[in-house]
Amino acid sequence: MNIAVREPKVEQATRLSIVDCDIHPNLRAGSDLKPYLSSRWQHHLETYGGHIRQALSETLAYPRMTPDVARRDAWPPSGAPPGSDLAFMREQHLDANGVEYCVLVPLRTGAGSQRNVEYGAALARAMNDWQAAEWLDKEKRLRGSIMVTPEYPEAAIAEIERCASNRGFVQVLLPPRTDEPSGRRRYWPVYEAAVAHNLPIGMHVGGISGQPCTAGSGPASYYIEEHHSLVPAMQAVIVSMVLEGVFEQFPTLRVALIEGSFAWVPPLTWRLDKQWKRLRDEVPHLKRSPSEYIREHFWFTTQPIDEPDRPQDLFDVMGWVGWDRLMFSTDYPHWDFDDPRYVFKARLEEPARTQLFSGNAKALYGLE
């Protein structure tokens, strides 16, 4: 009935081209992986399926208020799951928001968290081949993440070596919630392989740890509690990796913490430095203060952005974290998506703006 005689005004994409460091490609259905699994693991998928660290292994730890954790407008016209349709992803996000590059962070299958590590390794291989064939080969703006199995380091190393020659892959993806804290020695061979191939480690929030997200007490009541617990999980990654001496062992290791945002980083470094000054003889393998390791080895993606009451305050925090360590991300197509046009409530000046929206990610991931 309503016929527009004039084209609706189209929002201007940000003039800045952006690198989006966190978008989630999705399977249309589990059967999409079949061509990438051997018959032995197809049989396992069909007969048993996956099992991660909770009873209902194909579900999320807490029920969300939106299906598929997605923006309600992210369902493609075909009705396929959000993030599974490249043409719609181009239209709704890559083109509309001026994305120059974006880094795929596949989460489906939970390959790295599977209890059956052989099956996990098969899923990781399949997901990586699926990424290459269905996404990287079809869209030149996309870059991939090598899914690996931290609880099965030998397979993780083989997978890194197998995929590293495809320059479309720009990082090794590990879950931050592992059987043991991330800095423990059992994971060092994986870090060593990443360093050998000059690939950063990417750790995306979430995953099913099998432990209550309350870090020590019993299970939490609400999704909002679990959602917040993603931050202390990221803090635990930093604390463990720094204090275990990972960065003394691997001085060129770079770690991108994805979807944890960053406003919590400065007080963590203050507290760790203070404690280190008093307790350093317990960890004599640390040659520098924790804050120095953190400043040098960690990168942080911005989403979900922190929103202080005075928007300008955020820029002070960003300066404390380090302007060269912050990388813009949207989390498309998930519900807590950040839009590049509106993510900052105060004006972000150059050169910080370009650094944050593209420069830092290009430097870390070797884009261009």
């Binding site: 016929i3 527009a4 005004k9 923006r71 407008d73 519900w335 998506f337 046009r341």
Partner: protein
């Protein structure tokens, strides 16, 4: 300010809505229990197409353990971050002081008194005896 015909009254059933374009701007017209309201299709938080969100109620609690769902279908929940806006006022319930959706006046007028709006020419002719929904903008 000018007035624009955007829909036939019967076209938007109670509990439903229609997305229209007036002066190049997208506006969602909602029927809440027989009353019509119009909201800009842009969330003031991060710019999402607000009218693709869900109509929900307002969950209230005076103290832990006591809950009630009120005003069912009168709040619009943003499709992205879940901000809730009162469709009657455009006011946000999470942060009522700082986040408003632009609201437009809506009235229902007899068809014979209408000026034809620039965007509804075709439909005006087929429903001249009916009542039309008019958006002022």
């Amino acid at each position: 300010m000018s007035r624009h015909v955007v829909a036939n009254v019967g076209e938007i059933a109670p509990g439903s809505s229609k997305l229209v374009t007036v002066k190049g701007r997208e506006i969602g017209v909602f029927n809440i229990k027989g009353e019509f309201f119009a909201l800009a299709n842009k969330c003031p938080h991060e710019g999402a197409a607000l009218c693709r969100g869900k109509l929900v109620g307002l969950a209230l609690s005076d103290e832990p353990g006591q809950y009630r769902l009120t005003r069912q279908g009168e709040l619009l929940k943003c499709p992205w971050h879940g901000w809730e806006f009162d469709v009657r006022t455009g006011q946000s319930y999470c942060d009522p002081d700082n986040t408003y959706v632009r609201q437009y006046a809506v009235s229902v007028e007899p068809g014979s008194e209408l000026l034809k709006g620039p965007y509804v020419v075709e439909t005006f002719q087929v429903a001249v005896e009916e009542n039309y929904i008019v958006v002022e903008m």
